[in-house]
Symmetry: C2
């Protein structure tokens, strides 16, 4: 049945500004798609529709997280005093090994999915581990919760601890199993091909990943140009590539199917052109840039070049699953980045919001906006505890983004369905 929600509606059709509908209406059809949005009920087809009045609340698109490591959930907010390499070796890799145990995986993954729900993230691109069974379990937890996710069993067979390497054959076999179960048209939860990054994968592994992506028309995710040593290492490992991105491209892992690459801190010149040409999505992870990377990705420049950019939490390189916090970090990091070279303006609130909603959402289909035809992924924000003076609707949203947390999120919708708290 069609539903019409009445509330203060805010979203970003374009990145340069918010659409603000005071006491507006959004109609959602039986398939969970937006049928119309207006300040006038009469402008919408309200025949047979249930009208739900949400009062003085804000209604906004739900959050999308383009880059998050589910098995690093336990390590969220610890070991942040370490540099990248000791952090990986002493915390990240040992933790990921534990996911050979599905009991451990279930305990942690339940909390992880619950926390995504809590912070209003309805769709995510998730790195799991090499372990097929734990990955399957994570995907089922997303299904149970009703949340959208592209989940990657991770391919790694080079220069990693023994317990985190898998042969190319086993990787392919594991993926085939997951694909058989989860690769359904229109499914909210689907597999995504996930080579960890070039340094962890032999050419054979990368080739097999590319072949899987092509064979099943699956999306691809990985890491790109996060720090200088890594960029240099890739030059040595893949000497024929003209840049790091080109190394993925040669194996069919760079836009041949929808592709998202995390970080792109040192992306420039030829790599930037290749990303643009291939329509690769950049997952900008500003909290992680501050915590463990060595610099800030030049997002304003990416915008000028017309690149697609969304936001990622990168837990646990980023310490916070809350994408609203990541928006704030995106703005702050850009202020610091661009004040050094005064040639560009920092990112604005609407740009950060757009990256988290409509831009990131485009990786999951028509997601992240309230324009007709978009899947209704939405959050109802009761900010009455933050709204203690005569704030405008935009100021209320800005305050929620800067100061709010999960307490103000009253309802969460994914593809039109209201989602209760996951068990």
């Amino acid at each position: 049945m069609k539903k019409i929600y009445k509330a203060h509606i805010l979203y970003t059709k374009e990145k340069s500004r918010f659409e603000v509908l005071e006491n507006g209406y959004v109609a959602v059809d039986a398939a969970g798609r937006v049928a119309g949005v207006s300040v006038h009920l009469a402008a919408l087809d309200s025949k047979d529709a249930e009208v739900i009045d949400l009062g003085d609340r804000l209604l906004i698109p739900a959050m999308n997280d383009l880059h998050v490591h589910a098995p690093q959930y336990r390590n969220q907010g610890i070991a942040m005093d370490l540099e990248l390499l000791p952090w990986l070796q002493n915390y990240t890799f040992p933790e990921e090994m534990k996911y050979a145990d599905t009991g451990y995986a279930e305990r942690m993954y339940r909390r992880f999915v619950h926390d995504l729900w809590r912070f209003g993230t309805m769709r995510s691109c998730v790195f799991a581990t090499i372990h097929t069974e734990s990955t399957r379990l994570l995907m089922r937890l997303f299904q149970e919760a009703g949340m959208g996710a592209l989940v990657g069993k991770v391919g790694m067979n080079r220069d990693c601890p023994e317990g985190l390497m898998e042969s190319v054959e086993k990787m392919v076999q594991g993926y085939e199993t997951l694909i058989a179960e989860f690769n359904k048209p229109d499914a909210l939860v689907r597999p995504i091909i996930t080579p960890r990054f070039i340094p962890s994968c032999t050419p054979e592994m990368l080739r097999a990943c590319g072949e899987l992506a092509a064979k099943y028309q699956l999306p691809v995710q990985s890491h790109l140009s996060e720090n200088k040593d890594e960029v240099e290492l890739v030059k040595t490992l893949e000497p024929e590539s003209t840049c790091y991105g080109d190394a993925y491209d040669r194996y069919g892992l760079f836009g041949q199917t929808p592709t998202v690459m995390a970080h792109c801190v040192y992306t420039e010149g030829e790599e930037l052109e290749l990303i643009k040409r291939r329509g690769v999505m950049v997952a900008h992870c500003p909290a992680s840039n501050l915590n463990v990377s060595t610099a800030i990705a030049p997002i304003r420049q990416f915008f000028e070049e017309g690149l697609r950019v969304g936001l990622g939490s990168d837990v646990s390189g980023g310490h916070n699953l809350n994408i609203f916090r990541v928006m704030v970090y995106a703005i702050q990091a850009s202020k610091l980045h661009y004040q050094r070279n005064h040639d560009r303006h920092f990112l604005t609130l609407s740009e950060a919001f757009w990256m988290a909603t409509k831009s990131a959402g485009s990786f999951f289909g028509k997601v992240g906006s309230f324009e007709p035809g978009y899947e209704f992924d939405a959050l109802v924000i009761d900010d009455s505890d933050l709204n203690h003076d005569h704030y405008s609707l935009l100021e209320r949203l800005e305050r929620y983004i800067y100061l709010g947390d999960d307490r103000q999120i009253e309802k969460r919708f994914c593809r039109g369905k209201e989602l209760g708290e996951p068990k």
Copy 2:
């Protein structure tokens, strides 16, 4: 009566490391001072003492905020897309003018004091406005709440909107009134002399401020070297000064009595030497540096030079009153600052914690540590919802700092007294 609290005790005697007492005890005497701290109850004088077992909770020193603008509370988390000047002119100054109305002031200041309490900040250095009555009201609210505060009626008589300027005579008169009421030995709430900053004050205003500080032996607070234009402007306004700090110094406002200066982003050379010589405290406001300043204060360098540095929220240049968040920003900002010039290591968790507790606390007396003789300002943290795996006590504290919020603060103590929620 003496009380002994049993809990997991963490604090920073030195900035380089945490003291960690698993199931430790801290004894607090009838005057609210720490009488002893140990993992052995027998090591403490427990005669006639009530022992309070706090179970698996963390017991840490309370937070101190060295720089916060109470009348900018309404503007917290809005207008962050503006540059410093339009932000001041369109948001900050118009808001501060409203505090001529004590009714408005009471409504806002009550929320402000409540939020400081909520986030566990037991002592703060506060800028109020030029308005004597509103400032008195704020001081009384702090008294009612039982929290410590140095509160400054702000001196400004140059280059500001009409409604925010006051003559030197009225400024002195207003201060004398507040001093008569609040300047008691050992009082938790006291006045602090507060010229807004050099560009807002004529030489006469600065001189009068210095004379008040000397006459009543009152501490001083102001802003120093936050951005380049400001530093240049001060050179024009005070041409005889050798640096911005020296301009304050000439009026007796730079360490002649205890002095705290916010920001110091561009402090170097002679100014740095003068700060050191005068024992001036630096209030580092990293969230504000990211939001509205144009760079990051070089805190590692200040440490190497032996400067005193504490943390400030700088609401509403900083958007967050929560000093735990400010700690995280201090670490992140230093990572970004020092990765550019690889000559220094970023700030560590213990250094950030020390800045917020023992170092900032020293501006209020013996505050911010659990060493014997320190006033018992403390927070009891129930992190059971964050502690879902086998974390060490230090990891638990780090997770609380990075991920926790007011929900985990179970009890708050200031000078030995547990403080209930302010009305």
